[in-house]
Amino acid sequence: MGINVKTLCKDEFFYGHKACAGCGGSLAVRIALKVLGERSFAVLPAGCMSAVGFNFPQLCFGNNAVISTFAGTASMLTGIEAGLRAQGIRDFQAVGFAGDGGTADIGLQALSGAIDRNDDILYICYDNEAYMNTGIQKSSLTPFGARTTTTPAGKNIRGNLRPKKNMFEIVAAHGIPYAATASIGDLNDFMEKVEKASRIKGTKYIHVIAPCPTGWGIAPDETVEVAKEALDCGLWYLAEYEEGSGMTLNYRPGTFASVEHYLKRQGRFRHLTGDDIDIINHSRDVKWKLIEKNLGE
């Protein structure tokens, strides 16, 4: 226990990649691999992190890493874990890094199957809230109001009409050994969760919010502070689920910071009206009631 910046492995396992400057997803992958170390076997489906990590001959992973089909992150993890075990290899971690589209849309069935079998894998969803690698299309984890190329903002419709899917709760409802939410705005919390997950046998899931300067319309130096602001205004939350003990909340802001400030600093929300922001404030409050209910409060 007690993983922190001082005890973290000094080696880098995700280096020289071609992600946009300030990319939150690449920060999540980098830190998770530093926690897990060189005996991790990484699976990356189609998405930004595979696109920026594997450009032969520029291969940016220092550990074993492979690209999977878009839908098949969890099933490839299952196969890798079983294959290594069959070869008598011990003391390794099969870890997946899939985007929000790769997780909550197309990869959901494979993930659900792996959880059902309780395969000994760690699945990390880096959530940049849209299909970024193909040019910012809406996924089921795109929040209400966000402008994407498939949910444009115009006179009649102001961005995405649907709320963000409750992916963490859906995974937890399987009765998985361990699930957590995280944010690149709080890497100490993220490191601890990855480390904790690596010590648990069975399926583990971590959902980390990873802002994307290109798709969110923010400056490259704003990704970390925007991720923090999402926590402070209550539009994202840090929680854990453990089989047996249920949900725990890791951070609860005393009073919520301004949702409007968080939204308006991002290009994808700049078109929102006061009424839209009221809707988002209201749905935040409803979501927190649900969180509290899940905590048994």
């Binding site: 000094k10 300030g22 220092g62 890497l187 704003e222 970390v224």
Partner: protein, 96 residues
């Protein structure tokens, strides 16, 4: 293992992989050209708290004698390190 720059770009057929597998951490291009401004760490002000090292998306900040230094070959100049430093030890300078 930290990926590092190689002096050879595989070119001939004999150097290309037969299957889809290849050596890990094989770098042949730098990212320095992406940068429009460069972070400069003022060693006298740096307290070695390592926060910039932790939050750099590229992993290019490394520990050196209780302080930190930057691998400019792969820094993209995003400026996250400058914002995260509580001691104001990092400044961005225009690349010319």
């Amino acid at each position: 293992m930290k990926p590092y720059l190689r002096d050879r770009i595989p070119e001939t057929l004999a150097e290309l992989p037969d299957a889809t597998a290849y050596e890990a951490g094989y770098l042949v291009t730098k990212n320095a050209g992406w940068r429009s401004s460069r972070p400069v760490i003022h060693q006298e002000t740096c307290r070695g708290c390592l926060k910039c090292y932790l939050y750099c998306p590229e992993g290019v900040i490394f520990q050196d004698g209780g302080k930190v230094k930057i691998d400019y070959d792969f820094c993209k100049g995003c400026g996250i390190c400058r914002k995260i430093c509580r001691f104001g030890a990092i400044e961005m300078e225009e690349e010319k």
